[in-house]
């Protein structure tokens, strides 16, 4: 990605508070983002919420890069009403790592994290109610992972619930 380094007031404050947890603050196409260390995410988000007034959690999502050892890119998009500024936080986590849930800071994260768990299999530690949201409760497999083919179905689920042989 042809990202350019992000220099700004917010970036200075983040660097001052969190030091080496912020790995790469950058800007691409005018959108600021920062790659951070996974353990620091809850404290960074809490600081952004209280001190920097980023009070609206827009989205939590993940991207699967299967060839990397840190397979998933967990992305948090935050917005501040008072500053009219949007910020992206990205963190690289490995398969099996359980990031801390941020439901305590932003209540929006409840369903958004459930969806990330459902689609990617990333379990969030400390989430009050982590279960599947879009897929049925007893579905095996996490559909948005790159090794889950687009035509794949959970054969046992189809057999048990629909009583037919899965076409796959």
């Amino acid at each position: 990605m042809a990202a350019t380094p992000w220099e700004g007031e917010l970036e200075q404050e983040l660097k001052a508070h969190f030091g080496e947890s912020i790995i790469q603050p950058a800007t691409y196409l005018g959108q600021n983002f920062a790659v951070v260390k996974p353990e620091a995410v809850p404290s960074i988000i809490a600081w952004l919420h209280d001190a920097a007034k980023f009070d609206y959690l827009v989205d939590i999502t993940a991207v699967d890069w299967p060839k990397r050892p840190e397979r998933f890119d967990l992305v948090y998009i935050l917005y501040s009403f008072s500053r009219n500024e949007r910020l992206r936080l990205k963190t690289a986590i490995a398969d099996g790592y359980r990031p801390q849930s941020i439901v305590a800071t932003h209540v929006t994260a409840n369903w958004l994290e459930r969806e990330v768990f459902d689609m990617f299999g990333i379990e969030f530690a400390g989430h009050p109610d982590l279960r599947r949201i879009l897929m049925p409760e007893d579905w095996q497999g996490h559909p948005l992972r790159k090794d889950y083919s687009i035509l794949e179905q959970d054969k046992h689920w189809v057999q048990d619930h629909l009583g037919i042989e899965s076409g796959q």
């Binding site: 196409l29 609206y56 999502t61 991207v63 009403f81 009219n84 369903w111 687009i150």
Partner: protein
């Protein structure tokens, strides 16, 4: 009483199943009730999950465009606008001015159409059986304009990456202006039916209150946020597609109850008419498509672009790995995030209010489940 039976408990778990006329789609709400008072809810969604985000990884950018309309199927044009803006951002191109103005006109017509469906179905759930017919009658006028422009009424596929595919048809300006002249009287008619009606007021005032602080905590956007008093609209805060050129007001409510959401959406419809009138006077001449390569291969990178859809903030987070197919498309659906606040809004209320609140949140399950 010899021994305790389940009849002794006062708590009832009621399933407002996926097939229900008032849930606006296949939404299942499990209600925990004490008589008529709601103690808690649990929403079960996913009945309309079609894996749109997975499909996106297996289609080219141009091929994915028609799929996007099918998420918020009531207001398909906005979905297309958001997607095209996101890919244009990745490609670093901007649609030409003529395309931008036509996009604004169609997006605002689409907002009116979406709010008409909302009004009709919400009134129908509350028990007012008349407005739905009038709303759908007016919606026909809007859908006729869409059909004449792009060939389809509901799944419009109106925009392309880089601009527009179709040139305006003869009579487009005339029909849009005729619609703008005809419509305010109809909005007055709906208001005459509903706004001061004691049944409407009694069912809506102080029902499903969500104040501004809760809205921000729950990440709720769109008319629900504006009804709570926060005057925030992405068309003013972070304008796209030339919205900064138009002069319009952002309606805001005061209490954040269902009646305020009703007045905010009615006023939004009037403001949309205002925008359309300004836009249709000033359609510039020029090309309708920017210089976009035949095979779209954005450079490696990612972008998040969001627009003010009729339901709230609709965002597209697109990650490109340099090939012809997107690596990841994430759609941030406004209805999904707004639906989370349902529990907060109905707790402590009555069962009939659950129906009113689901209607007022204006959810479309195609968008919630994707």
């Amino acid at each position: 009483m010899p021994d305790a039976t389940f009849l002794d408990s006062t708590e009832l778990v009621l399933n407002m199943g996926p097939q229900h006329p008032s849930t606006h789609g296949v939404l299942r709400v499990i209600l925990k009730l004490d008589g008529e008072k709601v103690l808690g809810t649990d929403c079960v969604i996913g009945y309309l999950h079609r894996g749109v985000e997975k499909i996106a990884e297996n289609r080219t950018y141009v091929q994915f465009n028609p799929y996007v309309d099918r998420m918020d199927y009531v207001a398909a044009v906005s979905n297309g606008l958001g997607y095209c803006l996101a890919i244009e951002k990745l490609l670093n191109v901007e649609a030409p001015p003529r395309a931008q103005v036509v996009r604004v006109i169609l997006a605002e017509l689409n907002r009116i159409a979406s709010h008409l469906v909302w009004l009709g179905t919400h009134a129908l759930d509350i028990g007012a059986l008349t407005p739905v017919f009038y709303c759908f009658r007016e919606r026909e006028a809007v859908l006729n304009i869409f059909e004449k422009y792009c060939g389809a009424r509901l799944t419009t596929h109106a925009f392309r990456i880089g601009g527009l595919q179709y040139e305006l048809y003869d009579g487009f300006e005339r029909e849009v202006k005729a619609f703008c002249d005809m419509f305010p009287a109809k909005v007055d008619e709906y208001e005459e039916l509903l706004t001061r009606n004691r049944i409407w007021v009694g069912r809506l005032v102080n029902v499903g209150v969500l104040n501004a602080q809760d809205c921000k905590r729950y990440g709720v956007t769109g008319p629900v946020l504006r009804a709570a008093g926060v005057e925030w609209d992405l068309r003013k805060a972070q304008p796209y597609s030339g919205y900064e050129k138009y002069d319009f007001r952002i309606p805001a409510g005061r209490n954040g109850d269902t009646y305020d959401r009703y007045t905010v959406r009615m006023e939004e419809v009037r403001q949309s008419l205002c925008i359309i009138r300004q836009a249709v006077e000033t359609i510039p001449e020029g090309p309708i498509m920017a210089k976009v390569p035949k095979v779209i291969k954005p450079p490696v990178g990612e972008a998040y672009v969001s627009i003010e859809a009729p339901k709230g903030e609709l965002g597209y987070y697109v990650v490109s790995d340099g090939s012809t197919q997107p690596y990841r498309v994430r759609v941030r659906p406004p209805s999904f995030v707004n639906l989370q606040a349902l529990d907060r809004m109905v707790r402590g209320g009555l069962v009939a209010d659950v129906v009113a609140v689901i209607g007022t949140l204006d959810i479309v399950l195609g968008e919630v489940d994707r």
